[in-house]
Structure formats: C-alpha cells, structure tokens
C-alpha cells in the first residue's frame, strides 16, 4: 500500500512505459499541470501514444484521442469545431505530437489548421528524429547527426541537411502566439503553455525533449542536455507574439561542445565539424538578437502611435 503522499495526483499518470529518463515524459507532466482538467488531448502516432495508451491502460486523466500519424491537427480542428457548434466555449483542445508528425508527415495538415485559425494549441515535442520506429532522421534532425537513416559511412557522415525552421514557418502563418521551450525549463514551459491556452485561436509551442536511445545519452543527464541546448544557444527560448519575437532567456554562451559531447549521435564529429556548427549557431543567435531588437522597437513604435 502506497502512502497517500506518494500518490501521483497529476493528470499525466505514472505507470506509463516510456524509457527510463525519457525527456518527453518529463515535458508531458509539466504541460498537463499547466493545462489542467478542462482539456482534450489529441496525439499523433508516436512514442507518446505507445507509452501512454496500450489497451486497456491509459496514463491520461483527461480526455485523449489518437487516430493516425499525420492527422492530429485536423482531428483537433474537428473537436474544436464540434465544441463550438455544441456551445462549449471553455474546453481547450491541445495537440501533443512529435517532430515526425509535425515537421514531416502531418506538416501540410498542420499548416492548414493554422491557416484556418482553429482554436487549438499545437505542441510539438521535438526529439529530433523518428524515435518510435527506432531513430530515423526527420526534418527536425540536426545537421551531421547520426540516425539509422542518416548513418555515418566512408563517404557520408550523418545527416546532410539542416534542421527545418518549423517555429519560424509556423510564425509565418500569422499564428498569434508561437514559442519555444524544453522539458528542463519547467517554469518557462508552464508559463508558455498557460499563455497559449488563453489564446482564442491557434497557438504553437515547439518544445525540445531528450530521447535517451535516440540521442545516445545517459538517462540521468536528460535534463542536463536540454539545459545545455539552451545555454549553448543551440535551442534559443523565445516567444513570437503577434509576429514580434522576444528571447525568453539570454544565457551567457557555453561552447557548443558542452552540448554535443556525450551524445552518441554526434560522436563522429571532427573538430572542423564542431567549429562549423559553432559558427552556424553563433550566426543564428545573432540573428535572433537582432530580430528581437528590430521587432521590439517596431512594437514600441506602433504602441506609441496608437
């Protein structure tokens, strides 16, 4: 008999079958705490679906639906329309789907949902590859990373393409609230989920989450890698509100090596590779700092003229 104070009273329950140290499971707990009971979760096929909903047991204490891999956005749109038609103006419909579903196979349907402006919060949990099928590359996999479909050989060494800039692509749909976060930045993540939840209309969160087998990392370090991703500027935490971008944190930059080291998917990188990655990250960071400045100045100007 478990002591009552050791009982999980959250909306995302224990007993799910995620790997030990799963960064996604940590993120889901934060997300569900921020969303609360009056929520309907729509989930694409993927790790989360498998480790939370093997019949007959479910880790969800809120209504949850999974249909197929690529349709979580339109399923959510259908629920949202149904609630509206039936006079429910309070329940929030939230998609929680992986990078495979969001960056790739369900991308067009997600784009359609954003363009039409359904009242849906779409959360992409980005662990940077198709983990459920055993770590294959996705549009979210970073440059040079090893996966089972971007292998390291004599002529080609890891993924030859760059990560798709999904956050910016979604923002370009004029989605009123777009933000990034990670599982390890729970205060940032919870605050952003709460903010997104209040939007009447579409909103989007892109949340980086560790995958122990996919990244080849030590389970106990799952949160550390996410902190390093932010501290090295690999994954800037930001908000894009009504088109105006703002960095949520401006950590003093750690060298990118701090993030790459110890991840098996990056262990083949040469010093030149790392230098090149560093250069790219610095450029991207400078871009975001510049963009924040321009956007915020413009915003202040518009507000002043109102």
């Amino acid at each position: 008999m478990v002591k009552p104070e050791l009982e999980n009273k959250e909306l995302f329950k224990s007993g799910h079958t995620a790997c030990a140290g799963c960064g996604v499971a940590v993120g889901l707990r934060h997300i569900m705490r921020a969303l609360g009971k009056d929520t309907i979760v729509v989930n694409a096929t993927g790790c989360t679906e498998i480790f939370t909903s093997a019949y007959p047991k479910s880790a969800w204490a809120v209504p949850y639906i999974h249909c197929v891999f690529e349709n979580s956005a339109p399923v959510a749109a259908g629920i949202s329309e149904a609630l509206r038609a039936m006079g429910n103006d309070h329940t929030k419909v939230v998609v929680i789907s992986g990078d495979g579903a969001s960056y790739d196979i369900g991308f067009g349907h997600m784009s359609g949902m954003f363009e039409r402006g359904h009242d849906v919060l779409y959360i992409c949990y980005d662990n940077e590859a198709y983990m459920n099928t055993g770590v294959q590359r996705s549009g979210a996999t970073p440059w040079k990373a090893h996966t089972t479909t971007s292998q390291v050989g004599k002529q080609i060494r890891g993924k030859m393409q760059f990560k798709k800039p999904l956050t910016e692509i979604v923002a370009a749909h004029n989605v009123p609230y777009v933000a990034t976060s990670t599982s390890a930045h729970y205060a940032d993540l919870q605050q952003k989920v709460q903010k997104a939840k209040e939007i009447k209309g579409p909103s989007f969160l892109n949340v980086l989450m560790t995958c122990v087998p996919g990244w080849g990392t030590t389970p106990s370090l799952s949160m550390q890698y996410l902190k390093d991703a932010v501290d090295t500027h690999v994954w800037p935490l930001m908000e894009i509100e009504n088109g105006f971008s703002k960095l949520s944190m401006k950590p003093e930059k750690k060298p990118v090596e701090a993030y790459l080291k110890g991840q098996k998917r990056f262990r083949h990188l040469t010093e030149e590779d790392i230098a090149e990655i560093q250069e790219m990250i610095d450029e991207r960071w400078d871009h975001w700092v510049w963009k924040e400045k321009v956007d915020q100045e413009r915003k202040a100007g518009l507000e002043a003229s109102e």
Partner: protein
C-alpha cells in the same frame, strides 16, 4: 416538397436538414456542388459549422474529431478524395465513430477520369463502413437521413453512394422531405462515449496481439448485424416518406417470375428497369435485383436468384487480377447457399462509358446461351450521338 432541382443541391438540402454539427469538405468533381451548397448554407447561418479544409484527408480527420466529441458529422467526396481518406476510413470505423459520407461515385486514376464508375467506393469495401448505393436522386435524398440514423444507432460510419454526373448533375423533380419530418425521424445524436472533460476516456488506443483481433472481429460482426438496422430504417423511413426501396438491402424488379436476372448497383439499374419494361412487353421474362446495401453484404439475396435459368452481374468496378468483386461475392454466396444458377459476369461502364437500355437487352440475350464472363465495351448497339450536337465522346463534354 417537390422541386425541380439538381441532385447535388437536393442532397445538400437534406444533409443540412439532418442538422449536422460539423461539416468539413474539400472540393472534388463531381461532388463539388454539394460542398459549395453547404458552404453557402453556412454563410447564411443554416448550418452550425462548415470548414473548407486543405484536403479530403483533413475532412475525414475533422469528422473523426467531431464525432469523437459527440457531434453529428458530415462530408462529401469521391474518387481520389475517397482514396486519400483511405487510412482514416479504417480508423474511423475501428474507433466506432458514427459519421456520414456522401460519395459521388467516380473512377480512380490512372488515367485520370472525372466520370462515373464504382471503383472508388468498392475499393473501400473492407474498411468497416456501411455502404448504400442509390439508383436515383430521390433515393439519395431518402437515404441520407437513414444513413445518419443507422450510423448513430450502430456506431458504424455510413457511406451513401450515388453516381457522379449521372445523378449529381442531373436536374429533375425530387420530393425533398420537410425539415420537421426529418427532425421527427432523426433525433439529436446521443453519443454512447465521447471526449468529455467531466468523464475522461482514452480513445484510439493501440492493441497488442492479445486484443487486436478481438476488436476487428467485433467490428466485423457488428457490420453484419447492421443489416437489421438497414432494413429497419428502410421501413421506418418508408412510413415517414411513403417511399421504400426493396427491403433496404436489395430491391427486386419483376424478379419473382423472371427467368433471367440482371444484378447490379447504382443508377444503371434505372436504365435496366426500362430495359425490363421493354423486354417484358416483348414477352421476355426478365427481371432485376439491385444490391442497395453492399456492406454489410446481403448474402440472403441468393433467395431471389435461386431457380432462375440464368443471371448476370453487371458492375462498374474491377478487382485487378481477379474476378469482379460483386460477381465474386454473389457467386460465393450462391455456392454457400446451394443455388445452382449459371452466373455471368460483366464489367463495364468504367470511367463514364455509357450503359444504355440497348446494351442491357443485349446482355440479357447473351446469357441465354450459357454463362459469360466479359468486359462490356459499351460500343455495340450504343445509340450514335450526332456530331453536330457537339457532345460526342471525343469531345469529352466536360
């Protein structure tokens, strides 16, 4: 109320009067007029919701979400659109979500053709959907309310199939039931289970080998049992509207004393009625059996075929590399039920190739000599259209 109206518009009007909560459509010829009409109705506040989605795949996915939330959900499509929905059709049925699709039957690519045959919906026969095929626009209008009732009573989605162009674009007199009549026949949906924060459930779970087969066979058994609902609703709607189409599963026309039978589905069966009338006048004992409910497949239809000198199955679909699907199923049912009637198979009318009264007469004539298995090429005996009319096959006519 009787109206002279295009088939598509009539179907949209009756779909509206069924009170759908969520309608989501993507335009595809020849179902487009239904979608456009429903959109217009939404702009006038006549339906609660209409979403012009970015694909048929999203249309059916929105219906899944809407139905799971307890709503009444409707869409229309055909051909490539239905094929694009394929994955979700199976999931919707497997998740036991009621909803209605009106499918304006059209051929499948390649080559591309916008014209009618049944390859689109027949190819979805194994999806777990109930499929009802209509012979004319009046029947399509009468079938939509029944489809919602059957679907919501059985938690099995229903596809109403009516022929693209032959029916969708045909302007004719149709008796459209009053909204109040439909309202009395079709009560508001009461979902047995739904996505509700007050009573949370997990839907669309995955099943290990210990459970998977059980769910699939359960669906299969329930689709079979739904034949009773199809019959019941035909009776009930018949009482409301004064119109019945056989027993709901199939319809017979001069079949009882016939020596030869023509078996088929869809609008070609109205031409076949004309052929039978003509041939009866000439003293030929011919009749029809029209399969209305293709899924669940009514194998008892064999009782209407037993004892005949011959029967032919005419169908507008091919199972590439095998016997034609309807023929194969009737043939198998006959064997099972000990009906030893020479059965012929005709495939024809693909991609809008006309099947005329004259063709049907010829087919009846051919099977007198014994069973035939052939593709009807649609040329022989076809009335020649004068080139001056500008509507010859070469001109496409689109």
């Amino acid at each position: 109320m009787k109206k002279t109206i295009e088939g598509s518009i009539a179907v949209a009007e009756v779909a509206r009067d069924c009170g759908p909560d969520v309608v989501a459509c993507f335009p595809i010829t020849p179902s487009t007029h239904i979608a456009e009409t429903l959109d217009k109705m939404y702009t006038n506040g006549e339906i609660k919701s209409y979403t012009a989605v970015e694909s048929e795949f999203s249309a059916i996915s929105m219906l899944v979400g809407a139905s799971a939330a307890g709503a009444r959900a409707f869409t229309t499509t055909d051909s490539q659109g239905l094929a694009l929905m394929h994955e979700v059709l199976f999931a919707a049925a497997g998740m036991r979500l009621p909803m209605v699709i009106v499918n304006a039957n059209r051929s499948l690519s390649a080559p591309l053709s916008i014209w009618n045959d049944h390859q689109d919906s027949v190819s979805e026969r194994d999806s777990g959907w109930i499929q009802l095929y209509c012979k004319n626009n009046q029947e399509a209008v009468d079938t939509v309310p029944q489809a919602f009732k059957i679907s919501e009573d059985t938690n099995i989605p229903v596809m109403v199939c009516f022929d693209g162009f032959y029916l969708t674009h045909l302007v004719e007199q149709i008796d459209i039931p009053e909204k109040e009549v439909i309202g009395k026949y079709l009560p508001k949906r009461k979902a047995e289970y739904k996505l509700d924060p007050e009573n949370p459930i997990t839907m669309g779970m995955y099943a290990l080998p210990t459970h998977y087969q059980g769910f699939r066979i359960d669906l299969h058994q329930d689709v079979l049992k739904a034949a009773e609902n199809v019959k019941k609703e035909m009776e009930a709607w018949g009482d409301v509207s004064g119109r019945k189409y056989g027993n709901g599963l199939w319809e017979e026309y001069h079949a009882e004393d016939a020596e030869y039978l023509f078996i088929g589905m869809g609008s070609v069966m109205e031409n076949a009625e004309l052929a039978v009338e003509k041939m009866r006048k000439e003293g030929k004992k011919v009749g029809l059996v029209r399969i209305r409910c293709y899924r669940p497949f009514p194998s008892e239809v064999v009782e209407a075929i037993k004892g005949k000198k011959g029967a032919l199955v005419f169908e507008k679909a091919v199972s590439m590399g095998a016997d034609a699907p309807l023929y194969a199923e009737i043939s198998s049912a006959m064997k099972e039920k000990g009906a030893d009637v020479p059965l012929s198979s005709y495939v024809g009318g693909l991609g809008g190739k006309d099947i005329t009264v004259g063709h049907i007469e010829q087919m009846f004539g051919e099977i007198e000599g014994g069973p035939v298995k052939k593709v009807w090429d649609g040329e022989t005996g076809a009335p020649k259209i004068k080139k001056s009319l500008g509507a010859g096959e070469e001109n496409g006519g689109a």
